[in-house]
């Protein structure tokens, strides 16, 4: 039974984190251009206002239903991802296989971003859809393998059990490779920063090439929300959830989530774009063996400890 009272809390948390991600992105941009980071400059409200007042547009013979489903689905998936993150000890969805649920949601993104590209009836968006699938093939296996070590240590796929298993030591200390790969895959499935080829300016904006107005706002907000949901999920699985001395649990969780989000925002800005061809090399030749080795090491240590 989903905990209905927590739904508005979770959605509010997602909205706040997504706004923080967008604001952080703007702050870095303003700082990089050498202008002082005043509040008026880094606020995302002008962008939101601009997209609200902009007219929507369409193309010749798009698949309108699938196109808009692809765009709106990003926000829905982000909300479903944060539904298994325990807030104040309880998650919206009390799911005994929370880790697999998260993985299933990010696999949904394959279909959604592809539809966003295909439904637009435009060569630019179509090519971008292909690019997302190429990237997804590269990051999906490493993501799955990176989520296994926490489950092995906790002997359960339930997120709350994973939090409980970190009472001695946080997972990030025991499995740093899995944590690093997980963060990279969060950046990948929200097609941000170095892996933003599906929205790249070299194909006239990719999946953003034909959307304007509210549709564009929904897609851009969806990207930030996915990044925020990924950061929120990393905290209970790798960083001990709401454990911490002195301060109340929810404050610790918020601080940790914001810290992870800050790392993701900086990574997004700093690194240059990786071509999907190049990232496929990285994903298969480097990340898959690395994460498999991590799974092996963690499992051997867990067996030795028991």
């Amino acid at each position: 039974m989903p905990d209905v009272l927590l739904v508005p809390v979770a959605l509010l948390a997602l909205a706040v984190l997504a706004t923080a991600s967008a604001t952080g992105d703007r702050a870095l941009l303003v700082h990089a251009s050498g202008r002082p980071p005043r509040l008026a400059a880094i606020s995302v409200l002008p962008e939101v206002a601009r997209l609200l007042v902009q007219r929507r547009r369409t193309t010749t013979a798009p698949d309108a239903l699938l196109w808009r489903v692809g765009g709106g689905g990003l926000l829905v998936v982000a909300a479903l991802m944060i539904a298994v993150v325990p807030i104040g000890g309880r998650a919206v969805l009390d799911n005994p296989v929370g880790i697999v649920w998260f993985n299933a949601m990010d696999v949904l993104l394959w279909a959604l971003v592809w539809l966003l590209g295909w439904g637009a009836s435009s060569a630019a968006a179509l090519v971008a859809g292909y690019r997302y699938l190429a990237q997804a093939l590269a990051y999906e296996l490493p993501l799955m393998f990176a989520l296994i070590p926490p489950a092995v240590v906790a002997r359960s796929l339930d997120v709350e059990a994973v939090v409980a298993s970190q009472s001695g030591r946080w997972n990030v200390v025991e499995m740093p490779v899995a944590f690093g790969v997980f963060l990279l895959c969060v950046v990948a499935f929200s097609f941000a920063g170095p892996l933003s080829a599906p929205a790249g300016s070299d194909v006239a904006g990719g999946v953003l090439a034909e959307v304007s107005g509210v549709d564009r706002l929904v897609v851009l907000a969806g990207r930030h929300a996915l990044l925020a949901a990924g950061a929120a999920f990393a905290v209970p699985v790798f960083l001990g959830g709401d454990a911490g001395p002195l301060l109340p649990g929810w404050l610790w969780q918020l601080a940790k989530t914001l810290a992870v989000l800050a790392v993701l925002v900086v990574v997004r800005r700093r690194l240059p774009l990786l071509r999907p061809e190049r990232f496929a090399e990285v994903g298969w030749v480097l990340l898959v063996p690395l994460t498999l080795a991590q799974v092996l090491v963690t499992t051997v240590l867990a067996l030795a400890a028991s």
């Binding site: 010749t60 060569a123 170095p194 034909e210 240059p272 990786l274």
Partner: protein, 350 residues
Amino acid sequence: MGLTERLLSAAATRPHVLLVPVPGRSDLRWAVEDWLDAQGWPQAASPAGADLLIECGTPAVELAERADAAWDALPGPRDRARVRQPDEVDAVLSAARSRLLDGPRQRQDAQERGVPVVAEPSGDMDPGGMDMGGMDDGGMDMGGMDMGGMDMGGMDMDLPGGLTMAGRVEDRDGLRLEGLPVRFGPLLPDWPAGLELQTTLSGDVLIDSRCRWLDPSDGPVPDRAVVPGPAAALDALSRLLAVAGWQDGARRARRARAEAGSGPATDDLLRRLRRTRLLRWSLRGLPAPEGRDLTEHLNLLIACVDSSSSRLPVATLHELDQAVTGLDVAGAVLVVAAYGPVLFRERVDA
């Protein structure tokens, strides 16, 4: 309505700009780009994301047609302006922004566009008809990247919008897959001015390519800004870095270009470029002018900025065609970004 006016004024703090660079007037493009950087106005990647269409000079016939098509594709609120002299950049762009704030004017523009225009779906390469089909939310798919009519020998089936099926071509693995004729047009960001690349895409891969200049003139077009020297190399660098996805680096290169290659911004840029290994790794394996690798080409550009002993390479359209064929879209656009500035030089020198 008060709310719309307030949203408009909030929206117009940072309008997104789509540039139309005109061949031979790089000085105007540089002036506009520097002004946009100083104000913090981003450049749009496609007409769908743009509020302002700015022409850097007076475009000739074909380029003007593309600019008009992009203008039709801007969703609105929108405005359009032309910069003729470098010193009128500030006035022109500020005036364009204030016209964006004009609520009644924008509303009238929107109403005038709502009239549907139905054109005969023609059978040739170009779905040029503004087939809005009665929808009054705005523009057509006529961005910088044109979905040229899917008509490679396909039968005339009754598809929506009067389109036809894509033809079949053999791709590089010998499979018969779809072949989509696509034009990479002159209005893509950081694209060589006045260059059009016609290609057949099979999935993500360019099967063949034919480059041409829009409005081919009889002789070379004198480019008022491209004097051989550090500034030209910095311009080439800024476009390559922007297409390679390092927007920060591209901005620094533009700032270095504004100080003509000697000053703190240039030193800062060169320091960062020498340090970056991820960028060089991502550029490896792509062809560049004069038979080099794209990483070597990057090093050559750095050397051109640093000292006057190195010179920029030279290339022809035919070489670009051959370099680009068989690459995927991402690689092809990078290669065009590397060849573009030196194609221009060849036009000036030849």
